[in-house]
Amino acid sequence: MAGSRVDLKVVLLGKEYGGKTSLVERYLHDRFHGDVPYQNTIGAAFGAKKVEIGGKMITMGIWDTAGSERYEAMSRIYYRGAKAACILADLTDYTSFERTRFWVNELKTNEEHCKIYLSGTKYDLVENDKKNRKVDYHMTTDFADEIHAQVMETSSKTGYHIKELFQKIAEDFVDDPSNLEIKEPNTLNMYESAYKKKFCC
């Protein structure tokens, strides 16, 4: 199990069919909906990805989640300990945008250290055909401003903004001083333990 160290847990949340699995597939395996025939991966539920930020290697663990409503009650277990969450809204489905508020609230109340990123997915479908768009650009940006989150419109089909999204997540992680201790451990000795609290249930 050595060598499987992950610095940063990124969890994907959003309504079913919003495009979580496709996003993971595109980012981790650079493919879309089976357009590259069967490769040697056995599943795309979890993947670790190394990115370089300012000369530092950061390993992100990307967590796909089961989006079906019957598992919604368990989403808390999924995002526990996540440093970043991508909440996905399908740009062609207004209800999926409405649903993002639910996860935002969940995260704000249960996982306050988790940074939130909004992503409007399936950009390729609305890019040339404006009438497909059910989620206005300003709706997402206004909402993002309101909750102090980043927002990006992405397409897993074309790869548009996918790398940028995760790059941004990794950069923010490195820039956040509260994450510094991980890379530059201070010299606490064995008996100053009471200050540190771990996040475990």
Partner: protein
């Protein structure tokens, strides 16, 4: 029969109520009691913990009598709870005593090996110790010495402080991981090691220490893990009727290799209980998960995603009903290195297992997308779902029987078809014969058989008799002139 089973269902509802039977609702956070009763019970439990040995024995003896006669639902539960505490405490009290004796006695003849400590080590514990020593031998001396010292200190601390609650034990172990992680990176003894080496060191320490402390830390009598184990086990038993289809688990059980992987996954998750350290247990979960991905790959013919994975995991947990499920999850949560548990792939699978268990605990009609009536009827046992047609991996014998039955069915159909064909062939032959006979008859009647005169050889003269009449009479000789 039905009424009895119905009653079984109602108990489930009442489980929501305070376990003390006071009528208020209980809460899992208060171990199933309402806040008031929890405080009472917990206080009692705490007091009991502090009681002296003699008192304990006395109460154990007293309990052996009434515990058997008690059979009211609520009181029984409470008694069971108490009883179990005793069962656990009795042997522990003993070990603790011997431990103290040994500790305080003058140096023994057999000097305890630094790695086997004060207790009589189990086989697993000895194996872990020898593995650990082997690992330490690969390190530089100061590093090995420091690790040895730190681990020993922690083991001694936890072995001696037997009155600690499990939360406190967990805190101690977690603090150790945190501090040791920092120590490895800052202490001069470990200078120059790579990140992977740090990780390996942490893993070895975890494996060794927690294996050594397994008896103390796993499902300790100071908490209600055991009771919860039984609760979830019973719950899974009562959900035996759930099929893969109901969970939307994409399992193609007509393929033998799928059945194979399903069985492997079940074995893996059951084996989790025999692992001693959190790492060993986690590895069982990882193996189980990989086998599930195989199941999905073969069934779907394409890589699976989280949406496909979780239902199958739930299905596997339901079918395997792994022993001491709750205890194992708690043990991992409390004593595994959180770095691993929270982020990486191992953590991902563990998290999914936690989700599966939560799902099973809260499962209702809605989560299976069926009507309440249907759910109730399955739950009460009135109706047994026709699930076997989807070929649930039931016991091998039954599976074979179903397979044989199916083959027999097919054979019967083929035989029937054969007979039909034979009959129709027979009919055809008969019809053909009849038609031949009929045709012949027809021909005979329409074309009667008339025997004609045989043809005579042509007699030129005679034949032309008729014609000859038309001919002018033959010239007769005439006397013309004298």
């Amino acid at each position: 029969m039905t009424s009895k089973k119905k009653k079984g269902f109602h108990v489930d509802e009442s489980e929501l109520l305070c376990k003390n039977g006071c009528g208020y609702y209980g809460n899992p956070g208060w171990q199933g009691f309402c806040s008031k009763c929890y405080r009472e019970v917990y206080q009692k439990a705490k007091d009991a913990q502090l009681e002296s040995d003699s008192l304990r024995k006395q109460r154990l003896a007293a309990l052996q009598g009434p515990a058997v006669t008690a059979n009211g639902e609520t009181t029984l539960k409470f008694n069971k709870f108490e009883e179990k505490r005793k069962q656990h405490q009795a042997p522990k009290a003993k070990t603790v005593k011997t431990l103290f004796k040994k500790g305080s006695a003058s140096p023994n003849k057999e000097v305890p090996h630094p790695w086997t400590g004060k207790r009589q080590p189990s086989i697993e514990s000895e194996k872990a110790a020898s593995d650990f020593i082997e690992f330490l031998n690969t390190l530089r001396k100061p590093a090995a010495q420091d690790i040895t010292k730190q681990c020993k200190a922690l083991i001694d601390r936890l072995q001696d402080q037997y009155e600690l609650s499990v939360e406190e034990q967990s805190d101690i172990v977690q603090d150790f991981y945190q501090n040791m992680g920092e120590r490895l990176q800052t202490h001069s003894a470990f200078k120059g090691a790579s990140a992977e080496q740090y990780e390996t060191m942490m893993e070895h320490m975890e494996k060794y220490m927690i294996t050594r402390l397994y008896k103390i830390l796993f499902c300790p009598p100071t908490c209600d893990d055991e009771q919860k184990d039984l609760a979830i086990q019973n719950r899974i038993r009562r959900l035996h009727w759930i099929s893969a289809e109901m969970l939307d688990a994409d399992i193609d059980s007509t393929k033998p290799s799928v059945i194979d992987y399903i069985e492997k996954a079940q074995t893996d998750i059951i084996e989790m209980n025999s692992g001693r350290s959190p790492i060993d247990k986690l590895l069982c979960i990882v193996r189980c998960s990989k086998n599930i991905f195989q199941v999905l790959n073969i069934s779907r013919g394409q890589p699976a995603s989280a949406d496909d994975f979780l239902p199958v995991l739930i299905y596997i947990v339901l079918k395997a009903n792994p022993p001491q499920l709750h205890s194992n999850i708690q043990y991992i949560t409390r004593f595994a290195n959180p770095n691993k548990l929270n982020q990486g792939e191992v953590g991902y699978y563990f998290t999914n297992l936690c989700c599966a268990v939560t799902f099973i605990e809260n499962l209702d009609a809605q989560s299976l997308s069926m009507s309440q009536e249907e759910y109730d009827s399955y739950m009460s046992g009135e109706v047994i779902p026709a699930g076997t047609k989807f070929g649930e991996p039931i016991c091998e014998g039954l599976r074979l029987m179903y397979a044989n039955l199916a083959t027999l069915d097919e054979l019967r159909i083929r035989q029937d078809r054969l007979r039909e064909n034979a009959l129709s062939l027979q009919q055809e032959i008969k019809d053909f014969r009849d038609s031949v006979v009929k045709t012949v008859q027809d021909v005979l009647t329409t074309k009667p058989f008339i025997i004609q005169q045989p043809r005579m050889p042509a007699n030129l003269d005679e034949e032309n008799a008729a014609e000859s009449s038309l001919l002018p009479p033959p010239l007769k000789p005439e006397v013309v002139a004298k």
